[in-house]
Each structure stands twice: as structure tokens, then as C-alpha cells.
């Protein structure tokens, strides 16, 4: 980083809008802290409803991240290294869930995988089971919204990696799979890790696609964000605030982890 000898002078005009921007971003957080029922914190965090939702959230977000890693890394490799027609179109399609409102994703999942859906009706006649209202539906919804984060992070890392090592490994007779496992993957490991952390955090925070596609039932589909939404809908603001604080702590921890390890250098 270059350092300027004199500090940049702040244009006076910027002070007010910048302050307003900060207020929009930070006042809601401050409001949560001000309204938090600190004396009941332990009691609420230890309640059955919250613990059940927490367990379900950690389980589903971890499963979704595993699915995203298994499917997302090969997908990222194809996008970064593959040469086939329609590659840039494919890359565009992969990023659609990033900009799509999650509830729309939920409707799409329901229409496709619901019992009346194209894939769903086939699934029901083939296996006798349906996906909506199951924990599997939560994992699918989370994978849908979180996978683009992993694919983009890994694809970026693959494009930035020095390919000469792979070329050398190839001339020494290594198979493509060995090259990927012993050379490429270690080289892009930081990108994979940061992508996985982002992916996990996004899956943990998933709400719209989940409530639309998977419904909301304690222990089966009601994850932390759904529990918070249910609490505020039922008039239990204290539980909703405590759950919000919990999610914020996780979000800040993720940011801190990424910042220290991979995002900012120097």
C-alpha cells in the first residue's frame, strides 16, 4: 500500500451524507443493543426453542457448505479452466441466486421440487417422498443461495493461480486428478476456505427461500432466522432481539476471521 505524506482533506460536503449513511447502517444495531434484555440473555439463549433452532441451523448450514464444496469446486474449475461454448452465459446463470430475492428462490424451488413440481412429482412417484417441510429442503434452499459465494471465490482463486506449476506437473506425467489434488487445490486453498466461510455464513442466515420452500416447524425446518421471525410475529420481542444479537455475533466473527486470514493483506 502506498502512503501519502499528507492526509487527504475531507470535503466538507461529504460529512453530512457520510454521517447519515453511518446512521442507517449502525443505528439498527445500536437499537438492538439498547433494547436487549441483558438480564434474561442466558435464560433465552438456553431455552429449548433457541437451542433446537441453533442445533438445526449449525447442522443444515454445515451440510449445505459440504454440498457447495463438493459441487461448487468442480463447477468453479469448469468456469475458470474449461473451454466450451456458453461458458460466460453459464457463469452468469450461476450468479443469479446472488441477486435474486431469496423468497423468489423459494418459490422457484417449490415449483420445481414441490409435490406438484416438475422434479417433485417425479420424485414422489419414484420414491414416495416429498421434499417440502423436511430438513433436506432446508439444506437445498441454503445450498441454492450460498453456492454462488463459493463458486465465485474459488473461480477467482483459480484464475489468479500460476498455471506453470500445473504444466510442469503434467510434463512429469501426473494425471489430471493428481495435478488437481496435489498442485491446484493447495494453491487455491485460501480461496476455497474464504469461500466456504462466506458460504456457511450465508447458509446460516438463509430465511426467505427456507420459509417458502421448507416451511417452519421446530426441530425440522425452523432455523435461527425463522425462529427470530416467529418470535417477533408472536409478539415475543425479547427472544427476537437475543436471536438477532446471536446472528450479529456470528456475522462479525466471520468478517473478523476473513479479514485476518485472507481478505486484507498488508
Amino acid at each position: 500500500m502506498t502512503r501519502h505524506s499528507a492526509e487527504a482533506r475531507v470535503p466538507v460536503l461529504f460529512v453530512v451524507p457520510a454521517g447519515l449513511g453511518l446512521a442507517i447502517l449502525l443505528l439498527p444495531l445500536a437499537g438492538l443493543l439498547a433494547r436487549a434484555p441483558w438480564n434474561r440473555l442466558g435464560e433465552i439463549l438456553g431455552s429449548d426453542g433457541v437451542l433446537t433452532a441453533l442445533r438445526l441451523s449449525v447442522l443444515t448450514a454445515t451440510l449445505a457448505t459440504a454440498i457447495c464444496l463438493v459441487c461448487g469446486i468442480p463447477l468453479a474449475w469448469l468456469l475458470a479452466r474449461g473451454s466450451f461454448p456458453g461458458r460466460s452465459l453459464l457463469r452468469g446463470l450461476v450468479t443469479v441466486p446472488l441477486v435474486l430475492p431469496p423468497v423468489i428462490g423459494g418459490i422457484a424451488l417449490l415449483v420445481a421440487f414441490g409435490r406438484g413440481g416438475t422434479v417433485g412429482s417425479w420424485l414422489e412417484s419414484a420414491t414416495g417422498t416429498t421434499l417440502p417441510f423436511t430438513t433436506a429442503a432446508v439444506v437445498i434452499a441454503q445450498s441454492f443461495v450460498a453456492m454462488p459465494f463459493l463458486v465465485i471465490a474459488v473461480e477467482g482463486a483459480l484464475r489468479g493461480a500460476d498455471r506453470r506449476y500445473e504444466d510442469v506437473a503434467a510434463t512429469l506425467g501426473a494425471s489430471p486428478w493428481t495435478i488437481f489434488r496435489r498442485v491446484t487445490l493447495p494453491a487455491v486453498a485460501p480461496g476455497v476456505l474464504s469461500g466456504a466461510v462466506l458460504c456457511w455464513a450465508r447458509a446460516l442466515g438463509e430465511f426467505g427461500a427456507t420459509i417458502t420452500f421448507a416451511g417452519s416447524f421446530p426441530g425440522i425446518t425452523r432455523t435461527l432466522p425463522l425462529e427470530a421471525y416467529t418470535a417477533i410475529g408472536a409478539g415475543d420481542a425479547e427472544t427476537a432481539i437475543v436471536l438477532s444479537l446471536l446472528m450479529i455475533v456470528v456475522a462479525v466473527a466471520v468478517l473478523a476471521l476473513l479479514r485476518d486470514r485472507w481478505l486484507v493483506r498488508g
Binding site: 416451511g215 421471525y229 410475529g233 409478539g235
Partner: protein, 256 residues
């Protein structure tokens, strides 16, 4: 879901970027902007099941966007008021939630009963799950949607199931009446306990014995400290008057 089904008509009344920004900040608390027309606008918080009749009523009694409607679970609306949301009228889907608002001093005067609704056992057209009565809701293989017990439709459902002695096995507990009806409308569940008024052409009602029927009362009241008291009174008069009664009856409500 969808607390704000009809956006507050804020930007049209706000002049200038500063007013927009200020409006955006105030809107986080649930109120309109501080534009010149503020005194004319009535903000109504209403139970999700009132979406159709209230939207039509607002269109009939005012020419432009003078009535801002916000729909959600009654319990969620009371919580919004408790958190400082600025509104003029509150309409809830049961007496319990309105009693919470009265006890917390969030509304003024005596709430008026303006409509009655009943909870029904509804199934998708064709009844794919062969549901014949309340007892079927205990069948494990059946997909069943109920409302969350803390919201009015969920409380009514609990009452109905307790009266019938049925230990239901729901697959999802939805956040408000409309969300529950939505899962049934898509055919994703085999049965749901929903309001009679939320039954659509893609559903059938399973007849229940008269003693199983649960009737809920809708109450309306002016919010304490309403900035547009006159408008609030006018809206309440419209709801309880001939126009309101006609529209509520058309939507399937019983009116007193």
C-alpha cells in the same frame, strides 16, 4: 410473511433528497414521511386475513394514496406498535391480541367488533389425502399446515383441536393466516386449518360438526396518539358502515 403487502406511498409526498432520506429513516420505525400531505394520510395496521376487503375499501373511500395499509399477523402488528411504529388504526383478528394492545395502552377508546370469521378444515380440490374430519390431522403421513400457536389463527386452531381431542401432527407452523392458506393453495399440504375467508377456488372445505366450529372476532380501534385522528375515525366508520359491511360480507366475513 409480507408484513407490508402494499408499500407506504411515501416518496410521492416527499420533496427533495433530504426529505427522502429522512423519510427512509423514519420509515424504519414504520411511519410515513414528513411531507406536506402527512396530515391527510391514514396508516392502518390490519390482520393478514383482512387483505382483500381492506384493500378494496381503501380504493373505494379514497381517490389517491391517502390510506396506507400494512398487513401481518395481528400479534406482529401489536409488537410493531409497541416498538414505536406510528399508525392511526389497528385491526386485529382476535380479541386476545386486541386485549394486549389495550392493556399496553397502545389504542384509545373501546375496540369495536366489526366482523366474525370461522376456522375451517380445508383441503386441496379433489382431497388427495382423503381427509374426512379433524381426526385425520393426527395421521402422520398426511402433510398438514397450521398457524403458529401465538398468532390468532394458530390460537383458534389449538382451541379447535383441543375441543375435538385431536393430537395433530403438523408439518409446518406458518407465521400468519395467509401464509398457511398459501401452502394449501399450492397443494403442498393435504390439509390446513385456515379462515373461511382464505378459502379459494383451488380448495374444498371439509364439513365439521357444529360444536367443533371456532369463531373469531375482528376488532378495530384507533391507535393512541394517532397523528390523523379524524382520518382514523373516518376509516373506522367506513369499516363498520354500509360499505365496509358489504365488502366484508363479499369476502366471506360475517358482520354484526
Amino acid at each position: 410473511m409480507g408484513v407490508l403487502q402494499r408499500p407506504l406511498p411515501m416518496s410521492v409526498h416527499c420533496k427533495g433528497a433530504a426529505a427522502l432520506l429522512a423519510g427512509a429513516i423514519v420509515a424504519l420505525g414504520g411511519a410515513g414521511c414528513s411531507g406536506p400531505d402527512e396530515s391527510d394520510r391514514v396508516t392502518v395496521l390490519a390482520a393478514a386475513s383482512l387483505t382483500e376487503p381492506f384493500t378494496t375499501l381503501a380504493d373505494e373511500v379514497s381517490d389517491d394514496d391517502e390510506i396506507a395499509l400494512s398487513f401481518g399477523a395481528s400479534s406482529a402488528l401489536v409488537e410493531q406498535l409497541r416498538a414505536g411504529a406510528r399508525a392511526d388504526v389497528l385491526a386485529t383478528a382476535d380479541t386476545r391480541t386486541m386485549a394486549h394492545a389495550v392493556d399496553a395502552g397502545l389504542v384509545t377508546g373501546d375496540p369495536i367488533v366489526f366482523a366474525r370469521n370461522s376456522l375451517v378444515l380445508a383441503v386441496p380440490t379433489g382431497n388427495p389425502g382423503s381427509v374426512s374430519g379433524l381426526a385425520d390431522l393426527a395421521r402422520d403421513e398426511l402433510r398438514v399446515a397450521l398457524c403458529e400457536p401465538q398468532v390468532p389463527c394458530g390460537a383458534a386452531a389449538e382451541q379447535m383441536l383441543a375441543t375435538g381431542g385431536v393430537d395433530a401432527r403438523p408439518d409446518t407452523l406458518e407465521a400468519d393466516a395467509r401464509a398457511t392458506a398459501g401452502k394449501l393453495a399450492l397443494g403442498e399440504v393435504d390439509a390446513a386449518l385456515i379462515y373461511r375467508t382464505d378459502v379459494t377456488s383451488s380448495m374444498e372445505i371439509v364439513d365439521l360438526p357444529p360444536d367443533a366450529v371456532v369463531v373469531t372476532e375482528y376488532l378495530i380501534a384507533m391507535v393512541d396518539g394517532a397523528s390523523n385522528q379524524r382520518g382514523a375515525e373516518d376509516f373506522i366508520t367506513a369499516v363498520t358502515g354500509a360499505t365496509g359491511r358489504r365488502l366484508l360480507a363479499e369476502a366471506g366475513f360475517e358482520t354484526p
